[in-house]
């Protein structure tokens, strides 16, 4: 087939060169933008050099590099790394590819899947990140590892948030359908809860079994104390479950700053046979 192809009547390279010349000016000149391509807000400062804190890593790594793919509803492995989601989906959360390994295990970069994927360590599933390169230099990965070694704290702005005490995220989300068994449930708060209130204010019920209370251990996520982790004594089997966090009175869940949850908060999810 190919051997009978007619000789080219024009030179495709020349045609493509013209095409390139025609379209070559399409790249933006970056006027008025920061390093992430966002408009510079008057009075704001340019992103500082990479340091071992979450905001710096978000501004210098996750936002400009990772969100090319890890953003929105189609983010690979459900991992969204934009500023609104990244911390909650990274720290203390099992990786989708190797669920026995946390994406970020506070204090332990070696056992953090994020670092393993960036370093192309043995044991990862799939490709090294960032997908297709350019891969991060070791000095950059070392800064991320240092943030994890230091405890993987959230950004200073969020940790000092003045937002009212409220639930900000749940896993599973409200009205979710998840496969059995479910071994861990997580609830994120706008402020760090006072641990002494946890056992009395957080309840798990199997509402498909006459609202039977399910025994559960309640604690704060390692390295992420604004997130409360519920561990049922036995993994949850098929059924519909409701989590209730008590609010509104003197026994309400209260933050370390002394602010109580204003009203009861509850969410449900259904566990089914995979």
């Amino acid at each position: 087939m190919a051997s009978h192809l007619p000789r080219p009547k024009f030179v495709p390279v020349a045609a493509l060169s013209c095409l390139a010349a025609l379209l070559g000016g399409c790249a933006g000149n970056g006027n008025g933008l920061d390093a992430n391509g966002n408009p510079i807000v008057p009075g704001s400062s340019a992103p500082a050099a990479l340091t071992a804190d979450f905001q710096s890593i978000q501004d210098n790594i996750f936002t400009p590099i990772c969100t090319k793919c890890h953003i929105g509803a189609n983010a690979p492995e459900g991992l969204q790394l934009d500023e609104a989601h990244s911390y909650a989906l990274l720290v203390g959360v099992p990786s989708a590819e190797v669920p026995s390994v946390l994406r970020v295990k506070a204090g332990d970069p070696t056992d953090s899947y994020l670092i393993q994927k960036l370093e192309n360590a043995s044991g990862i599933v799939g490709a090294q990140m960032p997908f297709g390169g350019p891969y991060l230099p070791q000095s950059t990965i070392d800064v991320i590892a240092q943030w994890i070694t230091n405890g993987a704290a959230p950004a200073a702005a969020s940790s000092s948030s003045s937002a009212a005490m409220a639930v900000t995220a749940t896993m599973p989300v409200d009205r979710a359908f998840v496969d059995a068994p479910v071994a861990t449930i997580a609830v994120g708060f706008s402020q760090r809860p006072d641990a002494s209130y946890l056992n009395g204010a957080v309840h798990l019920q199997n509402i498909s079994a006459q609202a039977e209370t399910v025994p559960v251990m309640v604690g704060q996520a390692e390295g992420n104390p604004a997130t409360v982790v519920l561990t049922p004594l036995a993994p949850l089997g098929p059924g519909t479950y409701r989590i209730t966090i008590h609010g509104g009175d003197t026994t309400a869940l209260t933050s370390v700053a002394g602010e109580a949850l204003s009203a009861d908060y509850s969410f449900t999810f259904t566990v089914s046979v995979p």
Binding site: M1, A2, L5, P6, P8, K9, P12, A15, L16, L19, A20, L23, G24, C26, A27, G28, N29, G30, N31, L33, N36, G37, N38, P64, I65, K68, C69, I71, G72, A73, N74, A75, P76, E77, G78, L79, D82, A84, A96, E97, V98, N120, S122, G123, I124, V125, G126, Q128, F131, G132, G133, P134, Y135, M171, P172, R175, A176, F177, V178, D179
Partner: protein, 365 residues
């Protein structure tokens, strides 16, 4: 529609259409070059992965510059009457230049994939698996059962699969594949209904919409594609809607292919509106124009020009990427690819101004 992004968008779209079905780690330009539908060479009706008997014969006879004589025996992937196998291996030497950073060069095993097909009921019921076995641990890409109608004009597929949307390019880092979020790193689980009649191909997929992540709600992702195929040109439209609690994501694509003598052209333009992002940051535009010049048998020069507007509401933030790749297929089942990819973005971002140089060995059967 703001005038600022209209000009580059129109310019790219017009070029795409003026010169103008998607096929996995496939080279859809081969489909345009030959005037065939993807299903002619691949087991998967939407292309990619395991080649069918015709695809295997094509790879041994019409694709390479020369053929090592194997007598009358040709590889067809048949292990038995009911089982077929295939595979792909890609390994490369890669150099990466990023401004203000040291150049990094490395050898890298990109991927080894194994394909299995069981013709449980010959020509009617197929069980198919596409497993990436390296690097790292095994990773299931596709695994589905596919039922064909008696005359192969419709099918139903159920399991885990790549979604049909635009050109299924070999390069998964192409802007149109990254920005759309629909590529061969993001298979999803669900069902696909396909309709293939005459010049027309159409698919409708209903999937979890988690791109391989944990399912956390009962909302679903809908993907549809319609392609019209003629011998020297083809065009298609695709749409995707992913309904999520945090906000929906809509993607629309227009793509086309045209053969002019020895050159096969591909064009695609995708518009993405992601309402799961704050401050209306989710409106993106990605385009691609690619020319494949078949110089002589087994020698293909690929020139690609891409554009990405990551936020239509922001001025001066466009990115382009230019690629020149030479593909030599000296013998059957072996290909050497050498190329450069030149990223051009805003000067403030080093990674948007990267240069990649690579030589890749691609073995396939």
């Amino acid at each position: 529609m703001s005038k600022r992004w209209m000009r580059p968008a129109l310019c790219w779209l017009l070029v795409s259409l003026g010169f103008a079905a998607s096929c996995g780690y496939a080279e859809p330009y081969i489909a345009v070059q030959t005037g065939l539908k993807c299903t002619q060479c691949h087991v998967n009706p939407t292309g990619g992965g395991l080649r069918g008997p015709y695809g295997d014969v094509f790879a041994q006879t019409l694709m390479p510059a020369s053929k090592i004589d194997t007598g009358p025996d040709l590889w067809t992937g048949d292990v038995s009457k009911f089982f077929r196998i295939g595979g792909d291996l890609r390994t490369e030497a890669l150099a990466t230049e990023v401004p203000h950073s040291k150049t990094v060069s490395q050898f890298m095993l990109e991927q080894v994939r194994v394909y299995l097909e069981a013709q449980v009921i010959p020509e009617r019921l197929i069980v198919y698996v596409d497993e990436q076995v390296a690097p790292g641990g095994a990773l299931n890409r596709e695994a589905y059962a596919l039922y064909w109608s008696g005359n192969h004009d419709w099918y139903v597929k159920a399991g885990q699969m790549y979604l049909p949307f635009g050109w299924r390019l070999q390069d998964q880092t192409a802007f149109v594949r990254q920005a759309s979020g629909i590529n061969m790193t993001t298979p999803d689980q669900g069902v696909e209904f396909g309709w293939l009649r005459g010049h027309w191909d159409a698919q409708l997929d209903v999937t979890n919409g988690t791109a391989g992540g944990t399912v956390t709600d009962s909302r679903k992702e809908f993907t549809s594609q319609v392609v019209y195929v003629e011998s020297i040109w083809r065009t298609g439209v695709a749409a995707n809607y992913n309904d999520k609690l945090g906000g929906s994501r809509s993607t629309y694509g227009l793509f086309a292919g045209l053969r002019t003598g020895p050159v096969s052209w591909l064009g695609e333009a995708d518009v993405i509106d992601d309402k799961s992002l704050g401050f209306d940051q989710g409106r993106m535009l990605a385009t691609l124009v690619e020319a494949n010049w078949l110089i002589t048998r087994g020698n293909n020069l690929k020139l690609t020009s891409e554009y990405l507007d990551p936020n239509r509401d922001v001025h001066s933030n466009g990115e382009t990427r230019w690629s020149v790749v030479y593909e030599l297929t000296p013998i059957q089942f072996a290909q050497i690819r050498a190329g450069v990819r030149y990223y051009d973005g805003i000067p403030q971002s080093d990674t948007q101004n990267t240069r990649l140089y690579f030589i890749e060995l691609h073995g396939f059967f």
